[in-house]
Structure formats: C-alpha cells, structure tokens
Subunit: 211 residues, 2 copies
C-alpha cells in the first residue's frame, strides 16, 4: 500500500512525464531491444542511479510507459469527463483533451501503448483491461447521445473506434512544427468527429453557432 502510494506520487511528478516521454521516443527510434537504460539516462542528462528513481529496470519499462500513458488518459480525460453530465459536451471534451495529450507528447507514448508484443501475458491483460474500460466509457457516452436522439444511425462500436483511430493516428503524423498548433488540431478533430456522428438538426452549441 505504501509502495503503491509512492508510485502514484512518482507518476504525478512532472519529471516522471519527461522520463517516460523521452524513454518512449528512444525506444521508438532504436527499438526496445537495442535501447539500454544508459541511453535513456544520457538523453535525460541524469545518472543511471537517478533514472532508477523513476523506472523499475528495463524489463518493466515498456509496461511502465504504457501505464503512464493510460494514467494520463484517466486523470486528464476520463476522470474530469465523468463530471460532465451532458453527453455531447462530455464527448467534445473527451475528444479534444485526448487529442491534446497525444500531440503534446510527440506521440511516442501513444504509439508504444499499442505495441503490446514485448509485454508478459499478465502485463498485457492489465493493459487490455484499462483500454477496454476507456472504450466502454466512450461507447457509453455515445449511447447516451443516441438515447437523446442526437446520433445519426451509426454503429456505436465503429463510431468509438473511428474516434480512437482519428485521435491515435495523430501520434503518427502531427509534429509541433506543423501549420496548426495543438489546440487547433484538437478543435479540427472534434469538429470532424462530431459532424461525422451527430444529426445536424439535433446538434448542440455548434448547430446554434452555425445559425
């Protein structure tokens, strides 16, 4: 229990975010096998001993990066979203915030979250369970919108994965030097996604703005 609390503290530390993002970028560039703990320490400009304050050895590192990525999603998207009663507002918030998380981290963490090959079976089950919980929440939000007559006649599973595809794919093409900044990209994705899924006559704020 004390260990768990300590770990939560580490995860909410801004320096930990830098460690995980840097490690993710190096692993993506060099491949997991070719990356050493020294490579990561060097890129961060800290000692190996200093790095071990944040990581639990290389075999655990990939799993830690994934847990970090899914933790961000929980803390910054799912948890705040649960406080938004209106499902359309909630969906807009979720898509926009999720897109911003993906673009701000240069994408490496997001890409690694989908590379489950190097995990043990037990680690993989944990990752799949967390992803599934997020997907279920997203689909439940779409289902609420459907109940309010706001969705077009779309399959909710295809809709949920289409959203995740648009957002996760950002990690593979968006670079900070692009003509649009992170905020503009997030708004553009929200706009395309909401128009793709909702009935124009039942659309919320955006419909009013358009009038």
């Amino acid at each position: 229990m004390a260990l768990k609390r300590e770990r939560e503290q580490v995860l909410s530390d801004g320096r930990a975010a830098e460690v995980y993002r840097t490690a993710a970028q190096i692993i993506l560039e060099k491949g997991y096998d070719a990356t050493s703990v020294s490579d990561i320490a060097e890129a961060l400009g800290i000692t190996k001993a200093g790095l071990y304050h944040y990581i639990h050895g290389k075999t655990q590192l990939l799993f830690d990066i994934m847990q970090y990525g899914l933790g961000e999603l929980d803390r910054e998207v799912a948890e705040p979203a649960k406080k938004i009663a209106d499902p359309e507002k909630r969906l807009r918030f979720m898509i926009g915030m999720h897109a911003r998380i993906v673009t701000r981290g240069e994408g490496a963490v997001t890409i690694l979250v989908d590379e489950a090959r190097a995990l043990t079976a037990a680690q993989n089950r944990k990752i799949i369970k967390r992803k599934r919980a997020y997907l279920d929440f997203l689909r439940a939000t779409l289902n609420e919108m459907k109940g309010e007559g706001k969705l077009r006649d779309v399959d909710l599973t295809v809709a949920a994965f289409s959203l995740l595809g648009m957002i996760n794919w950002l990690s593979r093409w968006y670079r900070a030097d692009a003509s649009l900044n992170e905020q503009q990209i997030a708004e553009a994705v929200v706009d395309i996604a909401l128009n793709g899924l909702t009935r124009p006559e039942a659309r919320g704020r955006r419909g009013l703005q358009a009038i």
Copy 2:
C-alpha cells in the same frame, strides 16, 4: 527489366498475397528479430526453398511486405479511383476500398507498413515516397470537393489524416468474427467520414437518399 516483370508477376499472384499476409502476422506476433524464414515456411506448409520463390531473404522481407501493402493500395484503390471523375464519388470509393483491404488481411500488413524502424534509410525513403503520393492524391480529391463547395470549412491535412486514421485503425481492432462484416464496416466508415467532412446541403447521393 526481366527481373522487374517477374517480380510484378509474383506480386499479382494470389499465393504471394498469402505469403505476405502470413509472414506479416508471424512478424507481428513474434517480433521481427525472433521470426525465422523457417517459421514462415512452416506456417504456410511449404518448404524453405518454395518460400524463396516469393521472398528475397529475411532482411528484405519487411520491405517486401510494405511494398506489397502499398502495391495493393495502388492497384485496388488509387488506380481505379483515378478513373472516377466526380471527386465525392471518388472519395467514397477510396475510403470504402481502402477499409476493405485493411479488414480482409486481418490487419497485419497494414500495421507493418507503419513500422519503418527496421528498414534501411534507402528503403525508408521509398516507402515514405509512396505513402506521400497516396496522401497527396487523397488531399487533392478533398481539394476538388472543396472547389465544388462540398466540404465544410475543414483543414485538408487534418481531414486527410483523420480518414487515414479511421481506416488504418481498423487493422488494430476489427476481427472477422465481429458482428459487422467487412462490407458493413467499410460502409459505416464511409458514412461517418463523409458526414464528418461534407456540407449536408451540398451532399451528393446520400443527401438525396435521405430526403
């Protein structure tokens, strides 16, 4: 020249498709380093010598699989699409056919096309060039629709990558045992994408059907 022709023949051979798809699946499961040519031959039920009719050794295999995947996209999506004069019809065709290619191959080829790490710099340049050509064609199609007043006010780059994200992400979630078949999935993606991008009042056939 004779070699090139022979190679084209091999690529259009149905058996070659099976070789590349099977090899892609094994590489995805085991990782590139851990996969041997014997593993692939065994999975296909052929001898190593027989397999070498289709592949050019393991170091070349990842590149060959990517070229095969991008070749499918050219032959089955881009080339036929170029014969469709109306840009909205062309876009519908491109999204639908691309989605079907991704789902029918169980996704492994599509996923590997985006794993450029194990390529040499020269191979990587070739792959990037082919992907860029496809992206440019997709964006040009969107731009034609814009010229006809059919697009909402969306950034064409975000729009093009949103489409690619929705489609490519299918490779990571769609399984043939799902409740929707490949055709239905393709139609659902076309439907969400077109509604996400086009102005309802300027929409083609679908708009008429809806009336």
